[in-house]
């Protein structure tokens, strides 16, 4: 004959409590969300670009005349501008998040962030000037 020992009362575990707190988002929260929203936009933009240029057209068909023909259409210039803006910003912010993990001191992180910001602005500007300026004739 077995009976449950009365000395150990059965205690059902309390349900896990999740405390939700409202707080103002800081820069890191905004960057975190932005990476995900820009990802959704980059799926059609980047995949479309890769499918068209790398797979369907192919690098053997691409030359100065091809770029000139493509950029003769305002739509493709807008497309390329969006791609430049979103893909490069997404990538540079990703690099910042990666490097943040390997840098220990706030000074190193600050220097790295500002350095990446400058590189991002300079290269984005170079790309934007080229898209706006368009193809110039080779000598």
């Amino acid at each position: 004959m077995t009976t449950a020992p009365s000395s150990t009362p059965v205690v059902s575990p309390a349900p896990a409590r999740v405390r939700e707190v409202e707080r103002r988002p800081n820069m890191e929260n905004i960057a975190w969300r932005w990476m995900r929203y820009s990802a959704l936009l980059l799926i059609p933009l980047a995949w479309g670009h890769v499918l068209l240029q790398d797979v369907l057209v192919g690098v053997h068909q691409i030359d100065l005349d091809y770029v000139a023909m493509r950029w003769a259409s305002l739509g493709w210039r807008v497309y390329d501008t969006l791609l430049l803006a979103f893909a490069f910003a997404h990538g540079m912010n990703g690099l910042r998040q990666v490097l943040d993990e390997y840098l220990r001191t706030p000074t190193a992180r600050r220097l790295m962030s500002w350095g990446l910001l400058v590189v991002w602005l300079v290269i984005s500007a170079i790309g934007a000037i080229a898209i706006i300026g368009g193809v110039r004739a080779a000598a």
Binding site: R36, Y37, A39, L40, L42, I43, A46, W47, V50, L51, D54, V55, L56, G58, V59, H60, I62, D63, L64, V67, A68, L84, A87, F88, G91, M92, G94, L95, V98, E101, Y102, L103, R104, I123, S124, I126, G127, I129, A130, G133, G134, V135, R136, A137, A138, A139
Partner: protein, 139 residues
């Protein structure tokens, strides 16, 4: 530097299975794509700044070595995109589903979908290399 060394040895030794592998692949494909993107913005910008140089850049991209690199890039863009969609989906829509079993299954699905998208693209690109660099398939 010690931080980086700890991180790199940790990447090799950590046994987190699917979650760990998709983290590593996401990071590698992201950094690789950013490296190419940075070079690509600058080489495309030559059409405006130094139009004579553009054909040299394109000639480099047409080599077999960089052609194979381009195929790797296409895998990187596809995987980073599919895995990024997975991350965005769980983070933004189903944050309570970030449990290990779901994570494992979704990571495997991510790789499978990436390969299904990648293989046809790789075949077309490989064929282009064989046609233009080796005169095969009537090239």
């Amino acid at each position: 530097m010690t931080t980086l060394k700890t991180a790199l040895t940790g990447y090799v030794g950590y046994r987190g299975r699917e979650g760990h592998w998709s983290f590593l692949l996401h990071r590698l494909t992201g950094l690789g794509t950013l490296l190419f993107l940075t070079i690509h913005i600058l080489d495309t910008a030559t059409v405006y700044f130094f139009p004579d140089l553009y054909s040299h850049a394109i000639a480099l991209y047409r080599t077999t070595l960089l052609g194979l690199g381009e195929i790797g890039l296409v895998f990187a863009v596809i995987f980073h995109g599919v895995n990024g969609l997975r991350i965005a989906l769980f983070d933004l829509v189903f944050p309570k589903s970030w449990d290990i079993p779901t994570h494992r299954v979704s990571a495997i699905w991510t790789l499978a979908i990436s390969l299904v998208l990648f293989i046809p693209a790789a075949v077309v690109m490989l064929r282009n290399i064989l046609i233009h660099n080796y005169g095969l398939f009537g090239g």
